[in-house]
């Protein structure tokens, strides 16, 4: 969760505020044209990695008393998240262009685990509200 939050805050600051951590500056003078990074700052790469790893850890962490019924909901939630993600991408393909579409593609990298988490924990919350 902490990894996700640190990555998320750094990513938002980088994406919307163009903030970069100087420590992650890199300058290459390599003549190799195949792998030539040039002058780079790796703040956004590190932020996205933190967010992705944090989200995946959250997704695959077992809940207390996880049994086959919960596992079935886990699988169904993955199925739902992939389906919803592609529906959103399809809509974005026809309604958004250029910069806005790029933003959606960036969000699309994170939307599958995020939709999964929302659906899975909503189902768990609903299950716990059932009375005998």
């Amino acid at each position: 969760m902490l990894l996700f939050l640190i990555g998320g805050v750094a990513g938002i600051l980088n994406f919307y505020g163009s903030w970069e951590w100087d420590l992650l500056d890199y300058s290459s003078s390599s003549e190799n044209t195949l792998v030539n990074l040039g002058d780079q700052n790796f703040t956004n790469e590190l932020a996205l990695s933190f967010v992705l790893i944090g989200l995946l850890i959250l997704c695959f962490t077992k809940v207390p008393h996880e049994d086959e019924y919960v596992f079935r909901h886990r699988l169904l939630s993955w199925q739902w998240s992939v389906l919803i993600n592609y529906i959103l991408l399809f809509i974005a393909n026809w309604t958004l262009y250029e910069g806005a579409f790029f933003s959606v593609m960036l969000f699309g990298m994170l939307s599958v685990p995020m939709i999964f988490l929302i659906r899975f924990y909503f189902v768990l919350f609903s299950m716990h509200n059932h009375e005998e």
Partner: protein, 69 residues
């Protein structure tokens, strides 16, 4: 598939939570099985039958429409 888990559980004077604890699942899973919202695995079926001291066929009944799926 129909099941008679609830009446046999009540006959055994067990609550959902007690049955769930004996077979190592959550109370919500027993609730879902009794409501017919979830068909349990063979392992879970055998555990339920063992705890309630019944044959599997007494607890779980196949219906006509199950043959059509």
């Amino acid at each position: 598939m129909k099941n008679k888990v609830k009446p046999y559980r009540q006959l055994a004077e067990l609550t959902q939570a007690e049955l769930a604890e004996k077979i190592g699942v959550s109370r919500q899973t027993i609730h879902a099985i009794e409501k017919g919202q979830y068909n349990p695995s063979i392992l879970l079926v055998l555990k339920i039958a063992s705890v309630l001291d019944k044959e599997v066929e007494e607890l779980f009944l196949i219906e006509e429409r199950d043959w059509l799926d």
